[in-house]
């Protein structure tokens, strides 16, 4: 079972492996690569699921949570193809350190400890098929750290019993952080290319997981469990339990 950790708690070796995995993935220009996978979200594939939308029937489908869980899984597996056992860390933007310092240093340092360019700082968006073509580095335009979500807002969201209420709050907090980071992260078209997108969404996924854990059921409308999460080979049912996908979230762990 792989454990996803808070970015602040990665050991030096874990951070080094994470950066190595991202670096390797960014070297590929084919469908194994970071550029391709990032392009599933916005340009050029536009497969991301936000808000409640319909598909082939009158019901509105709230697939934001399961879709992004499948997306994170996809990238994590691709990273693990390059560096076994690496996992996606989360960025808790409501933590005291985030609300004091903003972006995690792991994602904002220009170089790693060896002086190499930090692959978590930015990536090259290369999408020649859009109009106009996209060929630029990701960039950020963060707001004041005190504008990040508060623990109180997160706790209020987690206390919601109804899935629709929880999901509305989660998407709104999610939207606010995209806007806070700004730049490439502030636009659906380019957000997936910023490496910090993945730490942001791992936190979103973690919060959904926490909300699920506080319930007797798995907290998703049962009539939607067979909905497909294109382009991934999953239905909602397949991604409802993180353990089934081979990972769990850990705030602390120790082993003999």
């Amino acid at each position: 079972m792989n454990l996803r950790k808070n970015i602040q708690n990665l050991t030096n070796d874990e951070l080094k492996n994470l950066r190595l995995a991202f670096s390797k993935l960014m070297e590929f220009r084919d469908n194994r690569g970071f550029n391709y996978i990032a392009g599933i979200h916005g340009a050029p594939q536009f497969k991301c699921w936000h808000h409640w939308r319909r598909r082939g029937e009158p019901r509105l489908l709230p697939l934001f949570c399961p879709w992004h869980r499948a997306y994170l899984y996809w990238l994590e597996k691709s990273l693990q193809d390059q560096v076994p056992d690496v996992t996606l860390p989360w960025w808790d933007w409501s933590s005291p350190i985030s609300r004091s310092e903003g972006l995690p240093k792991a994602y904002s340092e220009r170089t790693d400890s060896a002086g190499n360019p930090n692959p978590l700082l930015k990536s090259r968006i290369f999408v020649p098929t859009t109009t106009p073509p996209l060929n630029e580095d990701t960039f950020r335009n963060p707001g004041s750290p005190s504008e990040l979500p508060t623990k109180n807002e997160v706790d209020t969201m987690l206390s919601k019993q109804d899935f629709a209420d929880f999901e509305d709050d989660l998407e709104d907090i999610h939207d606010s952080v995209h806007g806070w980071v700004g730049g490439s992260m502030g636009r659906v078209v380019t957000a997936g290319f910023d490496p910090v997108f993945w730490a942001h969404h791992t936190n979103i996924d973690r919060l959904w997981r926490i909300w699920q854990m506080n319930r007797a059921d798995l907290g998703f409308p049962p009539d939607l469990l067979n909905e497909i999460l294109e382009p991934f080979p999953f239905t909602v049912r397949d991604v409802l339990e993180v353990k089934r996908l081979g990972y769990e979230y850990a705030s602390a762990s120790g082993s003999s």
């Binding site: 936000h50 082939g56 606010s176 700004g182 502030g186 636009r187 078209v189």
Partner: protein, 166 residues
């Protein structure tokens, strides 16, 4: 409720856009005084352009970017929109095509308008007693960067409802 900093007009990191005012919403709250929850629902929210924060006021048409976000100013909350970022396809790429026929299993167009909701129970218990007609003012704020679209207006909403639950 999210606290927001006061916007300095000289602050070039943020841009002031056209403030939105709804049509009046008639609602005699005294008939439903035992409500345990009140929501403002924003139906058909557009999200095709920039990300923005919408600061929402009731019955304060003069609210603007420098109005303090307090109940005294009838501020009831803020919502956030993660904007698409403009169109990067060929002509027609970002036109929202309504699907026709029961055999079309493709998802709605990604720019299909969304839905947002603010829970305003405590605020409405105060404000609802003062009026039976409400106008909603949305003060939108976007961030400026090198790729910011040249737009003057950003709030697109098809309908706003105020809903109470007993």
């Amino acid at each position: 409720m999210k606290k927001s900093k006061k916007l300095d007009k000289k602050d070039t990191k943020y841009k002031q856009l056209k403030i939105y005012h709804s049509n009046p919403i008639k609602m005699d709250i005294n008939k439903y005084s035992d409500f345990y929850r009140a929501d403002i629902e924003f139906h058909g929210i557009g999200h095709a352009t920039e990300s923005y924060t919408g600061h929402v006021f009731l019955n304060n048409p003069k609210a603007d970017f420098n109005t303090s976000k307090t109940l005294e100013n009838n501020y009831v909350g803020s919502y956030h929109v993660f904007g698409h970022g403009g169109c990067f396809g060929d002509v027609g790429h970002c036109d929202i095509i309504k699907k026709d026929g029961k055999y079309d299993f493709r998802a709605d167009h990604p720019l299909t308008r969304g839905f947002k909701r603010l829970i305003i129970t405590e605020q409405f218990k105060v404000l609802g007693k003062q009026n039976n007609e409400f106008t909603v003012t949305i003060v939108p704020v976007i961030k400026l960067d090198k790729n910011t679209m040249d737009i003057k207006e950003i709030v697109e909403v098809e309908k706003i409802s105020i809903v109470t639950y007993e």
